[in-house]
């Protein structure tokens, strides 16, 4: 028996017994992902090209409070006032809803009904479509409002696109950005109103331009 043959296993054994260095023997084979990957077909674009700044490139699936699947792209062609919220919020979110109503009401009467008012919940666990139905009823929101439920991934990606930060706290409430976004017909963010203070003039002007 050739001693050289033994050398490799001995080295392996020695290395394996050194606690911090064993992982070297477990490194995976280089990049097998390209060959066969069942997930790759999801990556292709939908075909009808949204503009490069359009939020509607996000193909995340949401559910309306009517239980129907909704993609953001279905809003294409309309000016949009959009905010993220959670239904059990008692402080900022009702003010956001009120501000969105005021922004919409600022449009000339003949264009007022074209705007879409969209609320997307970042509380997927509690804000089921059924809860959103109740929210619509309690707040007396007209059919012009779209209330959306999405899973964690959909909500996180939309929030990241908008620059909305949110975090659930131990008591179940969310710390979150107060942000109302105005989208043009292509789904591009043309204005964002941050915070709860200050006038709505810039937001209403942006919506008026988007509604032209």
């Amino acid at each position: 028996m050739n001693t050289r043959l033994l050398l490799a296993p001995v080295m392996l054994l020695v290395t394996a017994l050194l606690p911090a260095q064993h992982a070297g023997h477990h490194t995976e084979p280089a990049a097998p992902e390209a060959a066969a990957n069942p997930h790759s077909q999801h990556q292709e674009l939908a075909g009808d090209a949204f503009t490069s700044g359009s939020l509607y490139q996000l193909e995340a699936a949401f559910t309306g409070d009517d239980g129907r699947p909704v993609t953001l792209g279905s809003l294409r062609g309309r000016p949009v006032v959009l905010a993220m919220f959670f239904a059990s919020c008692t402080y900022a979110c009702p003010m956001i809803v009120a501000d969105m109503t005021r922004i919409r009401d600022s449009l000339p009467a003949d264009r007022r009904d074209r705007a879409a008012l969209v609320l997307v919940s970042f509380d997927p666990r509690r804000d089921t479509p059924q809860v959103l139905v109740r929210y619509r009823k309690d707040r007396q929101l007209s059919p012009q409002w779209t209330l959306l439920h999405g899973d964690d991934g959909a909500v996180r990606e939309l929030a990241a696109l908008l620059g909305v930060k949110f975090k659930q706290e131990a008591d179940g409430q969310f710390a979150h950005s107060n942000l109302i976004s105005i989208l043009n017909a292509e789904g591009e963010v043309v204005h964002q109103r941050a915070g709860l203070k200050g006038g709505l003039e810039d937001a209403t002007a942006a919506l008026a331009r988007a509604a032209r």
């Binding site: 390209a34 490069s52 950005s177």
Partner: protein
Amino acid sequence: MSRALTLLLVLVPLALARANPGLRDGMATIPAGVHVPLSRSVRDATEVKVPSFRLDIRPVTNAEFLAFVTANPKWRRSRVSPLFADKSYLHHWSGDDALGASAPADSPVVNVSWFAARAYARWVGKRLPTTAEWEHAAAAGYTTADARNEPAFTADLHAWLARPVPAVLPSVGSARANLHGVRGLHGLVWEWVDDFSTAMVTGESRADSGLDRDLFCGAGAVGAKDTSDYAAFMRQALRSSLKGNNTTTSLGFRCVEVPPTEPDSSLIP
């Protein structure tokens, strides 16, 4: 002689298995544990339970990311939407589908956005780790579960923090494995986490836009749980300063296994 060989052939796999039975397929099993968030909000949970999970041993490499970009042309440098990746996306590569001298094949990929990292993870059937998962895995030192008790580890960590990012990053294999067999959580690059956007420096929920925050704002240190943990604070500050399309020369990522029972939550186009 042949008996000795037989003995070795039996012993070697045994020794490897004993060293860390969770290491396979390039992933390590991180045992369940508790993550103590570095946070200032009084309403925050003081502890987050982290169930056991499987984490990539190494960060994703340039070669691996190139395979992804090649198979998914919409993630090429020249094609990607500015919403999903900013201008410096993959800018250290020599071309759309070429790595070049600044991007060795086995170095961690950097200059990738959160959206791109998520898309890659989805493509390989995995996901990004949560903050709690990442921090829990990274809390381990070389030989113990809590690196704060390991002066040698802390010294290496602080030395890395003090060094500028090298122009060409070293191989992902160059980092020493931690207790769980995971390499490079510290000492190579910063890494994206799935819920990076939950890191809010001020914790102010009433008038916090999160939009125009300067990079590395120092205010967050005030209420931090453990101000001596500089590295954790730096990660928190970095996460809170990022937007999903941002890319930097020292920010990469690694993935977590998605168990069959866990719903796929990645919905990148």
